[in-house]
Symmetry: C2
Subunit: 252 residues, 2 copies
DNA sequence: ACGCCAATGTTCGATACCGAACAGACAGGT
DNA sequence: ACCTGTCTGTTCGGTATCGAACATTGGCGT
């Protein structure tokens, strides 16, 4: 598994021109991300940025009461640690691994220097941040107006898009934390989806049987986020020698 | 009123070094912003960025169903149109004037050029965007977990901080749209606050009698947003010759 | 001073979600 | 093969918010 890992599985890295990529490459370090692991805690110094390849990470906001809400998810299309180049140095959110996998990390200073270099890297990072903001917009509105079942469908679809198969490894409790609802709410919504033949699950594993069913039950938010992500990142060209392909083909 | 307007009432503009400011100044155009006016609509081309001075503008996300949610508010501490320098050219959100007042606008191209110049303007804008992201984080979590009354207090406080007096000009309907709840919900929450002697209102006007009461009833979200805004923008220095002061003194 | 319309107040039942508590069932370790 | 802990299923009442309908009031224009 580790042997098959390659920085170019991350879309941002694979989009860099060779000269820029080669400035970063010596400093990229492969890291394994385990389910539930915390990459950033609010207020602490951020030493690295992370480029997920096969892992998916949630930006979680945790309130004083202990309840939480996912602000956005980051997969191989993005980067964790945008505050570093935006100029904040810390974030008020936690970053928690939602699907185990791999990613590459880069020391904060290296990234900042490359960003300030002003090349394509800067443009890419800003573009991606813009996409992330859209994602956050939509999530906030979704929290306000859509049902738990709709939100579950949205969330499953977004996660599914980043997975190589139609099988998600994930407990209901984790999903409940991400969506900021009770675990029972997920049990119920997931039960309804299973009875409808759309998904099938067993302890910690969810298989999506009928993707179109999820799409039909989901709210508009999934489509908006997906479309905007495509629009903003569509003009990214991959390097000729990069092996970047949709993760579904790159993994395994 | 118009005569007293000055671009330096906007904190971002007032923080620019003289050379950078003078490149922009000839292109700044004073605009009056009327209550309810729409500055941006989703998907349309953004021709200008806006620097509010006395006006306050909501970034509203409007769903297919017609219901809405405020993602963040922008006053004289910020700028409208961040997508322009982030690289998106359009936003998925609407910008609606929430408190009438004035602001300055700048053609998109001028701003982009200045941003790409890479000086302090770039750093300021990125810093501000980071603060805005925090605001959005907190809003999303707040939507999920806090009561309408708590959210109303948070919202009133954030608006109050940008006003020269303790009087807000604003209907309950507008607030309901901003918070994404029914108008009746606001009527009820505002009624409770009035009975507690914290606010007093009459058609379209809200007077805050006891600010501490709002703070006590508000959720943590107000304080987090405020503190983060101060942290991120605290090292901004005003030009010596700029008249920028807290808006409470600058207005009138 | 009047009339009109927008803004506010109030009610009703319906419903989605919460909070807590507990029962069952699967999986992995020993 | 058992035991254990985690994950899932199910129940209950309680509550905040919704959705719709209607009454009332205040302020503005004429």
């Amino acid at each position: 598994m580790t042997a098959s890992q390659n920085p170019n599985q991350n879309h941002l890295l694979s989009a860099l021109p060779t000269t820029e990529y080669e400035r970063l490459a010596p400093h990229l370090e492969l890291v394994s991300m385990r389910l539930g692991e915390t990459l950033y805690e609010p207020g602490t110094e951020m030493r690295h940025v992370y480029f997920p390849t096969t892992a998916i990470v949630s930006l979680l906001y945790i309130l004083e009461s202990g309840s939480s809400a996912e602000i956005a998810g980051v997969g191989n299309e993005g980067i964790l640690g945008i505050s570093l180049f935006m100029g904040g140095d810390t974030t008020p959110s936690s970053a928690v691994v939602q699907t185990a996998g791999y990613g590459y990390r880069l020391p904060a200073k290296i990234l900042k220097d490359e960003f300030n270099h002003g090349g394509l890297m800067q443009r890419l990072l800003l573009r991606y941040t813009q996409a992330l903001i859209t994602h956050m917009f939509q999530n906030a509105a979704c929290y306000r107006h859509h049902s738990v079942e709709q939100q579950l469908c949205r969330w499953l679809l977004l996660t599914l898009d980043r997975m190589p198969s139609n099988e998600l490894v994930m407990t209901q409790e984790l999903i409940a934390n991400a969506l900021g609802v009770r675990r029972e709410g997920i049990t119920e919504a997931a039960g309804a989806l299973q009875r409808a033949g759309i998904i099938r699950y067993r302890r910690g594993h969810i298989s999506v049987l009928e993707r179109s069913g999820l799409e039909a039950t989901s709210c508009e938010c999934y489509f908006v986020v997906r479309k905007e992500l495509e629009r903003l990142l569509s003009d990214i060209r991959y390097r000729q020698n990069s092996v970047a392909t949709p993760i579904a083909e790159a993994a395994c």
